[in-house]
């Protein structure tokens, strides 16, 4: 089943010339009208005339997350306020968030991408789909919501939390498909068991579109054998629009719709392009983006591209499972966390000495993050109550900046490891 057969199954050569035409006009436009990208092209000594083929994209300068921060809030926008119809916000690394904006057309191709993706995994107008991603500033909830509505599914905008109630609704409303993080689905499985509910026996839930955090084939096998739910990987970041692209029924990599995004793989250290099939850092150029163009944006996810035509008939390139990051970003319960955010938060607290460690574990299905901090000598009180109050304060501040709960452990000065050279403050013990 295809949502847009013409574009999804377009012959490879036609697709590449379409990508080239889109790229060329994008670069022409930005060079003429966007000061940021104009300056960046100038700095790299590249002119729109140098782009004579799709592979010439490699001559163009990169864009980085730092660019979004430096130009917060709307410095990167190429659309006026009257054209921008929505914002989404993700937490930043130094207390400042990153903002992404959407024109009506931006929302349109985002929704179109999701309609194609959901159709490719067999979700359509006979399905009832529960969206258990966060609604609001996070892109997951609203993105999937409109995508599922577009294919005609009956949408249940459950959001996050109230797990028991969510399970009741899955049962009562004959929910057939769900979108959430893989760890949340596994968590639901555990809660359902305690409630005496067996997903396979007592519900109609048979398909799950899972993403926003790394997961593995063993988690997929677990979900399928324990819960009887077929699980599909979804990929996308807020800089692209949000979650956009999924695996098809073949489940052999995520289809990156070629008319929407042009993907490259580079060596994260040298920035050089790698051959198809080689593992490296994903770089995306969003071909239709209006409010906030993304040219050769360095996502920092490590993957490889498969250009072979898929057995499903779609011609778009597929990316393999994300196997890591080329930076130190952590994904905790689906939320992106940079150690620098934690550091920034801790530095604002005068009772702390500046040394810290971040310990991440997975207990059951859910991630647990412990932040160990050293207190300053004069912050030590011999009343447990005072110390507990300090710990609670640090936890509140972290929650405020990270949007995620972290447990804090107070340590005496000198207790935490010291590093010569590059500090290794993150210990990630998760087995995914």
């Amino acid at each position: 089943m295809f949502w847009n057969t013409k574009l999804e199954c377009m012959p490879k050569e036609d697709l590449r010339s379409l990508q080239y035409r889109e790229l060329k006009s994008l670069v022409n436009n930005l060079y003429s009208f966007n000061k940021f990208y104009h300056d960046r092209m100038k700095a790299q000594n590249v002119h729109p005339d140098d782009i004579c083929s799709l592979s010439d994209a490699s001559k163009l300068p990169f864009m980085y997350k730092q660019d979004l921060r430096d130009n917060y809030p709307t410095g990167m926008f190429t659309a006026s306020n009257s054209e921008v119809v929505r914002y989404h916000v993700s937490s930043g690394t130094t207390g400042k968030p990153t903002l992404v904006g959407y024109t009506r057309n931006d929302l349109e191709y985002w929704t179109e991408a999701l309609a194609r993706s959901l159709t490719s995994v067999g979700i359509g107008n006979n399905d009832t789909m529960q969206i258990s991603y966060g609604y609001g500033l996070f892109t997951g909830g609203l993105g999937l919501h409109y995508g599922a509505e577009r294919v005609g599914a009956t949408v249940l905008p459950a959001g996050t939390g109230s797990t028991e109630r969510q399970i009741e609704l899955i049962k009562d409303l004959d929910v057939t498909a769900i979108a959430c993080t893989p760890s949340y689905l596994v968590h639901m499985g555990g809660v359902a068991k305690k409630m005496g509910i067996d997903f396979r026996r007592d519900t109609s839930l048979r398909k799950a579109v899972l993403g926003a955090e790394p997961w593995s084939e063993s988690m997929r096998n677990h979900i399928e054998s324990e819960m009887g739910i077929k699980a599909y990987d979804i990929y996308g970041t807020s800089e692209m629009a949000g979650p956009m692209f999924t695996e098809c029924e073949e489940r052999n990599g995520v289809h990156m719709a070629g008319d929407i995004v042009y993907c490259e793989i580079i060596d994260p250290d040298t920035g050089e392009n790698l051959e198809s099939g080689q593992k490296g850092e994903l770089v995306v150029t969003m071909l239709k983006k209006e409010a906030m163009p993304m040219i050769r944006y360095r996502i920092r996810d490590i993957t490889s591209i498969d250009e072979e035509e898929c057995a499903c008939g779609r011609t778009s390139p597929r990316i393999s499972r994300i196997s890591g990051r080329s930076d130190d970003m952590l994904i905790i319960r689906g939320i992106n966390v940079f150690p620098s955010q934690i550091e920034y938060t801790l530095m604002q607290i005068p009772q702390l000495a500046g040394h810290y460690m971040i310990i991440v574990t997975r207990e059951g299905a859910l991630d647990r993050m412990v932040v160990q901090v050293e207190i300053k000598e004069d912050a030590f009180s011999d009343k447990v109550e005072d110390m507990n109050r300090l710990r609670a304060y640090v936890e509140t501040q972290l929650k405020k900046y990270l949007n995620i709960a972290a447990e804090v452990e107070l340590k005496a000065p000198g207790e935490l490891p010291r590093f010569e050279g590059k500090a290794k403050r993150v210990v990630d013990k998760r087995v995914i």
Binding site: V384, M387, R391, L410, K411, A412
Partner: protein, 147 residues
């Protein structure tokens, strides 16, 4: 170091809640030749606070600091309690009536008498009230003599 203000300097030591940490602190106390008369361990999930009444609080404090131990001095009161039923009630009743709040306390039971070491919100006032009511309190000199 005799004084009659009725206050005893207690040392409070921060102990990380990890296996072997208390043993480490104990070994430092040993190396510094610090003799404890009474101690108490208050704990939370991630750390503990070792509170101790020692021979020579000032000297011990400097030695521990030099060893990099997080230590703090706090004034406590040593209430001498006869080894008979109702003795604790007598002392506690005085505090209750005088409106003095006990933040924490711990007891030491010696050969001749028992001592209830307490930390209160207003130590000076507490000493005064206790004395007015005929409750015996320990002077810091008495620690050295042993009780």
């Amino acid at each position: 170091m005799m004084s009659d203000d009725g206050l005893i300097t207690q040392l409070s030591i921060f102990v990380n809640n990890e296996p072997g940490r208390l043993a480490y602190i104990a070994s430092v106390l040993k190396d510094c030749g610090i003799n404890m008369h009474a101690f108490n361990l208050a704990e939370s999930a991630d750390f503990g606070i070792l509170r101790a009444v020692v021979d020579d609080p000032e000297g011990s404090y400097s030695k521990l600091k030099a060893k990099g131990i997080i230590v703090k001095k706090t004034e406590v009161i040593g209430v001498l309690i006869e080894d008979t039923p109702g003795a604790l009630f007598k002392a506690a009743d005085v505090f209750g009536k005088a409106g003095i709040n006990i933040e924490y306390g711990y007891a030491y039971s010696g050969k001749k008498a028992s001592v209830f070491y307490i930390r209160v919100s207003d130590p000076g006032k507490a000493v005064e009230v206790l004395r007015q009511n005929g409750v015996r309190i320990m002077s810091s000199g008495e620690i050295r003599w042993g009780i």
